[in-house]
Amino acid sequence: MPSPPAFQNAMSPSPASIEHRDEPVYGWKLAFLVKDARNVMFRAITRRAFYTAGRQRFICHCPDGQFPPILGAPHQKPAVGDDSSCGWYAMKDKRDCLDGYNTRMARSPDEMNAWLLEVDLWGTVVEGERGYRGEYQRVLSVQPAGKPEMTITSQHQLYLMGAQILYRPIYQGLMVPPMKPALRVADLASKLGTEVLWSDLARS
């Protein structure tokens, strides 16, 4: 049985364990869209963090084992260690990302407005078996996480909730009301500052 990598038990990666790479790593993640009067932003699925599409640095608050606990000094970058989980997360595989979300359909409806984000990560990046967590993130494109052709009621509902940013229901006493466009895709892309892949739904 191979021994674990030397960095696996360290609180911070030693320079010898870091590989240099020219291109950002690329992955998929889920997020909610939130909007106020002026802006549309992303909200992380598992924690209350908000971000926009452009270059974002992860602000880390994990304690750094290189300092005495009383100092409580956070490390500055994603690190490898028992209590380190910081960084922008992304999965390597798109389907893996979507399936992970579909197993958690018990969430309340207002939290089901999930979107699929295509991102790249750079800076200090920790690679796991199924994904990455990185120091910097940029959103390359966004699309609804649901699929319109789904016949399963809950997943159809997921699609409708994902569409609510773009479409408003016209209530006519129907179970599934028709949707009226409320915001053009181009306008949403402009507000988010990234590409919106709306027409790709039927193929994804």
């Binding site: 240099h20 291109e23 990046v125 690679e127």
Partner: protein
């Protein structure tokens, strides 16, 4: 989001910014025409 056990750590430089979506000029488009000095200026 479960990404599994750490396997590697990378140090990656900042990438080039994403180019704007402004369409490029059509390759067959005529260049902008600058009137020559001897042409009459329309009134």
């Amino acid at each position: 989001m479960q990404i599994g056990e750490p396997q590697r750590i990378y140090e990656i430089p900042e990438p080039e910014p994403v180019p704007d979506d402004a369409p490029d000029a059509h390759p067959d488009a005529e260049p902008a025409r600058v009137p020559e000095r001897h042409e009459p200026v329309p009134g």
